[in-house]
């Protein structure tokens, strides 16, 4: 405010932009490029979401972020009476066939936008549909830019949106990595996500340890599939949570960069600088939002956003204050965006890279987070007989991850219950809760969306060539049985025949089986 000139960075090396990147991946961090304010959104039909996408593009945005509904995320068609009724279009957009993906991106040049798709179990179908839209509209696959979450390992550990068992699912992920590495150099094939692990109850150290271990597992799987680490590692990215313990979060981000760079160089033989850099997106902690006195969540989100910025995130989503009650309203989503704009443009934190570097406490916390994550890696290496990938499989099979996460979640609840942990508005300072009793200001999705989508799907099924659909699904089954085949090309063929996502997932499940979680408390 007073105009005192400041340098881009203070303190001793290794400086930001220097190995092991503890202080940040770029020398001048936000001075050279501010973090991307990427807000996740989407609900209703593909046509509704397309309208929203075009609006974003008209206002100068270049990044589109797609939220899918639960049936789509679980590989179920909208007309699946057992699993989909009541959930179509509720938590995101419903995509059954290529026709929906064509509607979603109608009149949008896929060669000039960057698209993020948050989908995991059936990610290969969504990617195939996206590629098919590009092919149909004459866009070169090599120009496609974007990210598909495709982090299947954390699904068994935390988010639970899996379809097939872990090993065949990893084959699908490595097929996608091989395919995009060869022909889609601007595509990010996996976004390794700690966010959901944390939301499910993990501590900051567990989020860090489990997430980086999953990252190492993808690297080991891709290397085993014959890929050179420097050909794909530069396209891996991460997604972390920002919870309420301010300095712990900052230490976590700094430790993540240091561990990733060190392991990638020393254990996996990466040489390219890009392979060593832990690039990450951050979202504030949805689970920390309270239904009680919801407006005070604005303050929580602001502090969590600040931790993300001080931790050196590359992009940030700030949660809306009403998300403990329902999907966010437009006003609440706007306040969330304004909150990170205040952090970016008013506080001055973007002027200096790693402004907390050198603080005795922050450096200690960074070391402590690294030490705790290393204990987790050691445990997984032991479980896997020297392989992180095998250790992660074993940890999924024997309930290690879900057990650790459930223990932490319960410990947290007990601390809230016995008052050793204060949550403002919940177990202290509870006066003034005038929560919206009539619900008039909550977003509600009506049944119309589901009715529309059911008609849409029926029309697509009516118009397609069933013989071609069946032949393409047979090819998918055959290629699934051949571990040397890549599943992306036959699935592109199936989506081009307008096979549904559910049909393609059923074909894969007929070979791979479906994963059923052991119900462990």
């Amino acid at each position: 405010m007073s105009g005192v000139p400041v340098d881009p960075v203070y303190g001793d090396g290794p400086l930001p932009g220097e190995f092991p990147y503890t202080r940040g991946i770029y020398p001048e961090m936000y001075r050279s490029r501010l973090w991307t304010m990427r807000m996740f959104a989407g609900f209703g039909t593909a046509v509704d979401t397309n309208g929203r996408f075009k609006e974003i593009l008209r206002h100068g945005g270049t990044g589109l972020s797609t939220a899918f509904d639960m049936p789509t995320l679980m590989g179920r068609d909208s007309d699946d009476e057992v699993w989909s009724a009541g959930e179509v279009g509720r938590a995101g957009v419903a995509i059954d066939t290529l026709a929906d993906m064509e509607d979603l991106f109608a009149d949008i040049d896929l060669g000039s936008v960057s698209t993020s798709m948050t989908i995991n179990g059936p990610a290969i179908v969504a990617l195939a549909q996206y590629i098919a839209v590009a092919d149909k509209t004459g866009v070169d696959r090599a120009t496609l830019s974007g990210t598909i979450q495709n982090d299947i390992l954390k699904e068994y550990q935390a988010q639970k949106e899996y379809i097939f068992p872990p090993r065949p699912s990893m084959r699908i992920v490595t097929d996608m990595m091989r395919f995009t590495t060869a022909g889609m150099p601007r595509w990010h094939p996996v976004s390794i996500s700690g966010y959901h692990i944390r939301e499910a109850g993990a501590t900051a150290a567990q989020e860090l340890g489990f997430t980086l271990a999953n990252g190492f597992a993808y690297v080991e799987a891709a290397q085993a599939a014959g890929l050179d680490v420097d050909d794909f590692a530069g396209r891996l990215s991460f997604f972390f949570n920002s919870h309420s313990d301010f300095f712990e979060e900052i230490g976590k981000y700094r430790a993540a960069r240091r561990i990733w760079a060190t392991w990638m160089r020393q254990r996996y033989g990466a040489a390219s600088e890009r392979s060593l850099m832990c690039r990450f997106h951050t979202q504030t902690a949805g689970v920390s939002l309270t239904a009680q006195q919801p407006e005070i969540n604005i303050a929580r989100v602001a502090l969590q956003a600040l931790a993300g910025a001080l931790g050196g995130t590359q992009s940030l989503h700030t949660d809306a204050y009403d998300e403990a009650l329902a999907l966010p309203t437009e006003k609440a989503a706007r306040i969330a965006l304004r909150t990170q704009q205040i952090v970016a443009h008013e506080t001055g934190v973007a002027n200096v890279a790693d402004p907390l570097g050198g603080s005795a406490y922050v450096e200690w916390m960074t070391d402590e987070m690294e030490r705790r994550a290393t204990e987790i890696f050691d445990h997984l290496l032991e479980l896997g007989g020297g392989s992180i990938l095998e250790g992660v499989y074993e940890g999924i099979d024997n309930g290690y991850f879900v057990g650790q996460i459930a223990d932490s979640a319960y410990r947290f609840e007990r601390e809230v219950n016995d008052g050793t942990r204060i949550i403002v508005g919940v177990n202290a300072f509870t006066e003034g809760d005038d929560a919206d009793q009539d619900g008039a200001n909550l977003l509600r999705i009506e049944q119309d969306t589901e009715d529309f989508q059911l008609k849409r799907l029926a029309a697509v099924k009516q118009a397609r060539d069933d013989g071609a659909v069946n032949r393409s699904l047979e090819l998918v089954r055959n290629e699934a049985e051949d571990p040397g085949a890549n599943l992306v090309p036959p699935i592109i063929e199936a989506v081009n025949a307008y096979a549904t996502e559910g049909e393609i997932c059923d074909a894969l499940a007929s070979v791979f089986g479906r994963y059923v979680e052991q119900a462990i408390v």
């Binding site: 699993w83 959930e87 938590a91 239904a291 459930a406 619900g439 909550l442 408390v521």
Partner: protein, 153 residues
């Protein structure tokens, strides 16, 4: 932590056996953090928990209630589907000829609570509910379903 270890109260007056609770999530919703915490809270309170976990249907829940001779059903909902799912489970309980109360917990707007109760849901628990409140809601639901039998407490 004494508030969670209130074993003797786990039984409702008028009966001696501990309360048996079936816990489940219906449909595709995968948010199981809350349900797992509730399972441990109820166990600490001396109840017997039959944890079905994720991806259950009304049929699998009813089958578990029958096989396990459960006293109460606890469902967790985070997908805004509570108004659609509640009547289905209440109907399924009644179709099976059971007299078992249903308690719902999760992301449920306060404004929907009275509608859910009219549909036959015994209690609704919101995020932040204490272990005591959760245990009490379950006991109260079971007490209510015991109907005319004498209840002393």
């Amino acid at each position: 932590m004494t508030d969670m270890a209130d074993g003797p109260q786990a039984a409702v007056a008028g009966r001696t056996a501990p309360i048996r609770v079936v816990l489940a999530k219906l449909g595709l919703d995968g948010h199981d953090r809350g349900l797992k915490v509730v399972a441990r809270m109820l166990r600490d309170a001396g109840m017997e928990v039959i944890y079905l976990g994720l991806r259950q249907t009304t049929d699998t829940v009813i089958a578990a209630v029958e096989q396990e001779d459960a006293d109460v059903i606890g469902l967790s909902m985070h997908n805004a589907g509570h108004l659609a799912l509640a009547p289905r489970i209440v109907q399924a309980v009644s179709d099976a000829g059971l007299d078992v109360p249903v308690v719902i917990g999760g992301i449920v707007p306060e404004a929907d609570v009275s509608a859910l109760k009219e549909m036959g849901i015994s209690a609704v628990l919101h995020p932040g509910a204490s272990a005591v409140a959760v245990g009490e809601a379950v006991r109260e639901a079971v007490r209510g379903s015991l109907g005319d039998r004498p209840v002393h407490d």
